[in-house]
Structures are given as structure tokens and as C-alpha cells.
Symmetry: C3
Subunit: 136 residues, 3 copies
């Protein structure tokens, strides 16, 4: 369940380089290690979805303000250290990605990590088996 | 609050038959019964929203991997058995829907059920009254 | 973290006046005050994202039913009174917005307020500093 969903104002579709951001964040998730040095997120479960809003409003509307909200939902049972490592890896990657844009425009950026609290969980695709053979 | 949101990679827009999936999942929700045989989800509250991502990244990017994540948010106060029945009904329906696609491509599929933990809840439309008359 | 995400059936894109709704809800959030009369949501953090589904299914599909679900995610640490005030302000605004539409068609409307339970939270944009100077 290492899933990032990115919500953003439609103006960022032109200058946010979102396809690149998706790959960058997926790669960042794959680098996260726990205290024992093991990969935290199984490769076959990592995904990033980017969604430009069709319409949006930011702050008091007094200027040309963009916003990008990044949300990672991860599974239960990981250590607090692994949760922090995940948040930090994504933040480092997102900060670097948006640095040029931040230098020239007004942009809100928030990244949060949620731990899923689901009461039912089913995985029935064929990606996990594919990568388990590769040991991911 | 029986709401399904479907997040998926844009490649599935062409071959995922998503309009059909929406109806199939809504119908599946309407079949869910509790231990007493009563309909768990009021008809007027059932909705499914399908959102193809504008951009996405899956796994390590080494192949043509699709992903579809299905999330049901349901209200509090239902029994654990009703929660499991809901998850299972949706999973059976989604598995059947995606079986042909799974047979010919790489696709991650995850379905989770969350129980809402909202601090405020307002319903102010006219669908619930419509179906309460029909007893739904 | 005063973020509203609006999910809605695609038919509302034509007659839901969604750009107006976004601004209206952002303005409503800015009016919310706590027991001490202080602004609950910092101006630079307020955002509303509206997402028409690409595909949807509502109720039993027997009629032309639309649905709009509005979700506010707010940060922890606010009083229960502030949470209720936020929900009520948004509900009043959304009710007024949708009243003409409700008078002529079938439409489900639900608004919920969630309090974030994130394990990691990073803000690294330049909107908050902009408005903190203005005291927002």
C-alpha cells in the first residue's frame, strides 16, 4: 500500500512537470529502507497518481496562487522510523522538484503520510508476484 | 456513506471498461446484506466515482504496468461481518471485471474498505428521500 | 491543512457551477472563527480542489441521479466547536450553492469533515509566509 496521490491546481499542469514528479516520487519510495536496511515498500505495490483539479480555489484568491498536496498512504505495521524515512525521502524529492518553480511563483506545498486503517484489504493483481520473484 | 473511489493509471482508460465497472460495483454494493438479511447500504447513498490519473508511475517503471486502486468508504456502526461482506462483494465483482485484462497484461489491483471517522456529517440532497419511499 | 476535495458525477460539470463553488467554499473556510474569535484556518493553507469523475454510478441507476461529495480535511488540535463551525459554514455555503439545482433535479449531497491523522507532515511552499506577514 505505498500509494501517493497528488492533488494540484490546474495551473500546475503546464509548469509542474508532473509526469517527471510521479517517476521521481516512485523512485524515492523504492529507496526507503528500515532500520535493518530492508526495502520498506515492495516494488510491485508502489504507485503514484497525479490529479490536476478541474477547478480550484487557493487562499483568499487575491493572487495567482498554486497549490500541490501530496499524500502517501502506507500500510500498518511499519516502524515509526520507517514512516519518517518515507516522509523525508518524498519531501526531499518533492522539494528538489519544485525548487525552480518556487523561485518564481507563489505555491503552497504540503506532503503528508497517512497510515491506512482499512477494515478490509484485497490484492488480486499480478504485479506483486512479478516482483517477488525479483525480490523487490 | 457507501462511496467507492477508483484511482487508476491512464492506460486503463482505453481497456479497463470503467463505466461498466462503476455500475457493476454500485450493483454489488446494493446486494450486501447484514446478518439479519437487511440491505447494508441505503440505495440513495450508493455512488462510485472513477478517476483516471493524468499522470502516474508504477513500480520501478521497467515495464508497461497498470494499476487500479479501489477504495470503499463506509459509515460507522456496521458490524464487522457487514464490513467483510462489503469488501468481499466488491472484490468478487472487481476480480471478475478485470480477469480478461489480467490474463494479458501486468496490472496491480488493490481494494480496501475504510470506515469513516468524520467529525461532521451533513446530507442535504434529495436522493435519500426518493429511495426511502421505495424502501431502499 | 484546511483542504476541501470535491468529488462529483460528470453531469454536474455542466450545471454545477463548480468554479464558483470552489471560491465560495474557500471564502467560507476563511470566515470560520473559534470560541476566542480567532480565524481557525490560516489563509495560506486554504485550498479547494474540484474533481469531476470521468465515470460514475449512483444509486440503482434507475434515473438521472447526480452526486456531489465534499470532504474537508483539517488539522488536529482544533476544538470540537471549531470543527463543527467549519462543517456548518461549508454546509451553509454548499446548500445555498446547490439550492437552484436541487429544485429541478435529483442530486445526492454529502459533506464530511475529517481530522487528519497523519504520521508525517511537511509544508515547504511559500504561501504560508506570504500570508503570515499579512496576519491571516
Amino acid at each position: 500500500m505505498p500509494q501517493v496521490v497528488i492533488y494540484y491546481t490546474p495551473d500546475l499542469e503546464a509548469d509542474g512537470a508532473m509526469p517527471t514528479l510521479c517517476r521521481t516520487l516512485a523512485d524515492a519510495m523504492l529507496t526507503v529502507r528500515d532500520e535493518a536496511g530492508a526495502q520498506v515498500f515492495p516494488t510491485g505495490g508502489v504507485r503514484v497518481f497525479a490529479y490536476p483539479a478541474a477547478h480550484a480555489a487557493v487562499a483568499d484568491g487575491s493572487g495567482d496562487y498554486g497549490f500541490c498536496y501530496l499524500n502517501l498512504r502506507m500500510g500498518r505495521g511499519r516502524s515509526a522510523a520507517a514512516q519518517q524515512a518515507a516522509g523525508e525521502a518524498l519531501t526531499v524529492a518533492a522539494k528538489a522538484h519544485f525548487a525552480p518553480l518556487l523561485a518564481r511563483r507563489h505555491l503552497g506545498l504540503t506532503l503528508q503520510v497517512d497510515v491506512g486503517d482499512e477494515v478490509f484489504d484485497a490484492k488480486f493483481g499480478n504485479l506483486h508476484p512479478l516482483f517477488q520473484n525479483k525480490k523487490g
